[in-house]
Symmetry: C2
Subunit: 522 residues, 2 copies
């Protein structure tokens, strides 16, 4: 009866009470979200690039989390702030990655496809292994806390996942070279998939303890997963294009139905890939690219406007939320700060590992590229610098706490947390300065205009004329480039007519390539 | 190593495996969602009203659930289909209710406000008590399974929550009388809040076993909750109006920021109310009404189009998903069919209870209404018939399984499940026929045009002229009506100028009242 008098609708420990706690938790999250948006807007308006939106969100999360920690918030409310990897992978990540693909400029992406794949697959592999070996060696020499070799490799894998959000939003704001943008963007999206795959394989190797001989297998498996996921994504994209071409939903009063279906397809692709044991990230990325390229033009005008705004909105919300969520969780979780040496040295090591990744891959790519298309040193430096770690590394590190016993996971988690916070705040805050120092800002756009628009395609002719120093390896790589290039013609003559409606096709197509520049991506 | 060879990325029982199960589960849900949308579209196109979209969704869920049951789907996948009350209350319900408020025609709603509140509060109370007493008496006389009196009242409360989705979509499709629409709509939205409140109070009474003397308290508490929630909702709505009026976000390139903030406000309102221990449903409903009326016109044109489409999209997805989700869960859950008599009689009893609700409340309302505005018998019959039970009753029944011991909750759950399926399929399927038989379809729109538009307000003058048979009770009721009516003038002279930007105000305002008719609601 006492309870009754205070608040009859809210008994203690009942579902109603739990719901109230959920209400408070979510309320706080919404308030931080609003604060982040407003703060980000104000900072951008005043061209203050030292605190990008993502860093601001992370800081807000950290501060509110610290306050909640001090004020002894109830555990039922806290429960709403624990970073759930499942929630991240199933609900926050898909819209972010889809929007990346949907707002992609296909020309620079595909013309750099070979380089991107090199950086993402070979490079991430190199970075993981280098990090793992360095951490292991430092452990053996008692420089830092000693971890078993396989666990070092797991750490190397998860810490090699770079985050696209912060750096790209600054690239976009400042207007940097499109090829550099494509490289940074493509690498960071694809290497997430590589890092997950590597991490999981290492985790398996660890539980089965059958070391050695697997390094080659890992690459093969990754390629299998990659090709499978890409096929699934492209398949779903093409299916959607045909559906919207023939279903006749572009009548005025069916706009809602049209949009509902359009919005469901990307998620379908993600879950299809995950359900098949493939990589949802890769799948939804390619669905995004295909849907923008083909399905999008089959929609009615109103729906086109709506879905663009919709995906932009959803992905901004998800992005901002990820950083807040991460910041809050970092402030709330228990950390084992005893291994401060581990943190310091791993920051050093990932710097070295990223250098090994970027410069070796750039060397390989430059081997096969013609002189005027080589990746310049300043782009390599920018690429090296842009490797900040974000939500993907954090989510995998959180998983490692469950996967690894005896506080090893805890050590890895704390180190990752520190690396994420430091790189997001420091690298995120200094990217603008760095880009200006390397002189890759602004004017380089013209270079892009020259190199692409005159060829009216993915630079196909350039490759044909080039044939010096022909060892077998280089030839193979060049063939791959050529096949990418001839894709343009195939697309123009067969794919586009088949998958899209034919009204005013040429203009629409050009517009598609152009408009994502206007501010679509992010 | 065996595992390795088959699929290295997906070890059994690991997070990756769980994620794969989640992928399959969500994939299935998306497929059902797409199927529902397409089926609903086809049925509507062929004007087949015997299987409305909600019924179709429920059936799809039931069928797929039954198939999954037969085919022995893995438990990890099944876990993704269990109906979680929390998920329903926190994520599916808010968009549905907000869209109800956002697409509301304020004129008929407010002019019938007194009647709606009577039906929702007094009527639901009557219906709950009548159902509870009948079930108890039937139990005492060994007609059906005997439940304790308080549990009978809990059952009465939860089964009195009527569902707006199905009936209203048909009302809308066929174009029925606007006053009837407002009554059915308003009652079903508000009585959800009453039913929750009653259910929780009864649940508390049960655990404290201090019966009697609480009936009056329940009403008082409910009114407190109602007024508090309404104030919170209206407050958040007005805050948003002022923000969008003065923040200057209606510039072209800030559309995304504007939309992000606009989209967060309703959810903020819901969580604020829940966090305060009030009713989120009532709060978000009024936020919807206020935001449509004031904040909406402060947005840029593009954002206006976008947010309308956005809320429509999100609520359609949530609505359809609720029915699929419910159908699937019904097919998967264990039911105690031994109490078939309980089910049969409770269907009979809720029919009687709803009659007691509708006809007694209509009598009360008609006492104070002038002759030409009395609720006609055919509207009363339509109102009685429209009381189908949906997701709210289902969610509360599911909660009762946890709340009540000894299989009592199970009995209530099974009965509720049966009632939901029967009423959704039977009443949902026959609403079209019923509306035509009662002749409340189509032409009655003109009556509305006459009664509202000539007065240019909420019918204020009509009340002033009327003053016969003045007993105290009737006078009080009339005063309430009058205050509602004079609100129009207040709104026009003070609220609208204060909360909205003043450009082309009059037209915009009229358009606001008008356009929700066009197909906005649903």
């Amino acid at each position: 009866m006492e309870d009754m008098r205070i608040s009859p609708a809210v008994p203690r420990g009942s579902p109603a009470k739990e719901q109230q706690a959920a209400g408070v938790g979510i309320l706080l999250q919404i308030m931080m979200l609003v604060l982040s948006f407003v703060l980000g807007h104000v900072l951008r308006r005043h061209r203050f690039y030292y605190l990008p939106e993502a860093s601001a969100s992370l800081l807000i999360g950290l501060i509110v989390g610290a306050l909640a920690n001090i004020s002894n918030t109830e555990t039922s409310i806290r429960a709403w702030f624990n970073f759930h990897e499942e929630f991240f992978f199933l609900f926050l990540l898909p819209p972010i990655i889809f929007q990346s693909g949907f707002s992609l400029q296909p020309k620079p992406f595909f013309s750099n496809f070979g380089a991107i794949v090199t950086f993402a697959i070979f490079g991430t592999f190199v970075a993981s292994v280098v990090t793992g070996i360095l951490v292991y060696l430092a452990g053996v020499t008692y420089l830092i806390y000693k971890l078993p070799f396989v666990e070092c490799l797991m750490f190397g894998a998860l810490i090699s996942a770079t985050d696209p959000v912060t750096v790209l939003s600054i690239f976009q704001e400042l207007g940097t070279d499109v090829n550099l943008y494509a490289l940074v963007f493509g690498e960071s999206v694809l290497n997430d998939a590589m890092a997950i795959s590597l991490y999981r394989t290492m985790s398996l190797v660890r539980s089965n303890m059958s070391s050695g001989q697997n390094f080659f297998m890992v690459v093969v498996r990754f390629l299998e997963t990659f090709v499978g996921s890409m096929s699934a994504g492209v398949g779903v994209g093409f299916t959607s294009a045909l559906l919207f071409k023939y279903a006749g939903l572009d009548i005025d009063n069916l706009q809602n139905l049209e949009c509902c279906l359009f919005v469901l397809f990307p998620y379908f692709s993600y879950m299809l890939a995950e359900g098949l044991g493939l990589s949802g990230i890769v799948s939804i990325l390619f669905t995004g690219i295909v849907m923008k390229h083909y399905s999008f033009s089959n929609l009615s005008d109103k729906s086109q406007k709506f879905v663009s705004a919709f995906f932009h909105l959803i992905s901004s919300l998800a992005e901002t939320f990820v950083f807040i969520y991460m910041g809050f969780d970092i402030a709330m979780e228990q950390h084992s700060w005893s291994h401060i040496g581990f943190i310091f040295f791993s920051i050093l090591f990932i710097g070295i590992a990223r250098a090994a990744n970027v410069f070796s891959c750039a060397y390989l790519v430059n081997l096969v590229r013609p002189a005027h298309r080589k990746i310049p040193m300043k782009h390599q430096k920018a690429l090296w610098y842009s490797g900040l770690r974000g939500a993907m590394a954090f989510a995998l590190a959180l998983q490692s706490v469950h996967d690894l016993p005896e506080g090893h996971g805890q050590t890895i988690f704390t180190a990752t947390t520190a690396i994420v916070v430091l790189t997001v705040l420091l690298i995120g805050g200094s990217t603008g300065t760095m880009l200006e120092a390397l002189q890759v800002v602004g004017d380089d756009h013209d270079t892009l205009g020259e190199s692409f628009d005159t060829n009216n395609g993915y630079r196909a002719p350039t490759y044909e004329g080039e044939s010096s120093s022909g060892n077998r390896f280089k030839m193979k790589l060049k063939e791959l480039s050529k096949s990418t290039a001839s894709f343009t013609a195939f697309d123009k003559n067969y794919l586009t007519p088949f998958f899209t409606s034919q009204n005013g096709d040429e203009d629409e197509h050009d517009e598609l390539f152009g408009d994502s520049r206007g501010g679509g991506y992010g």
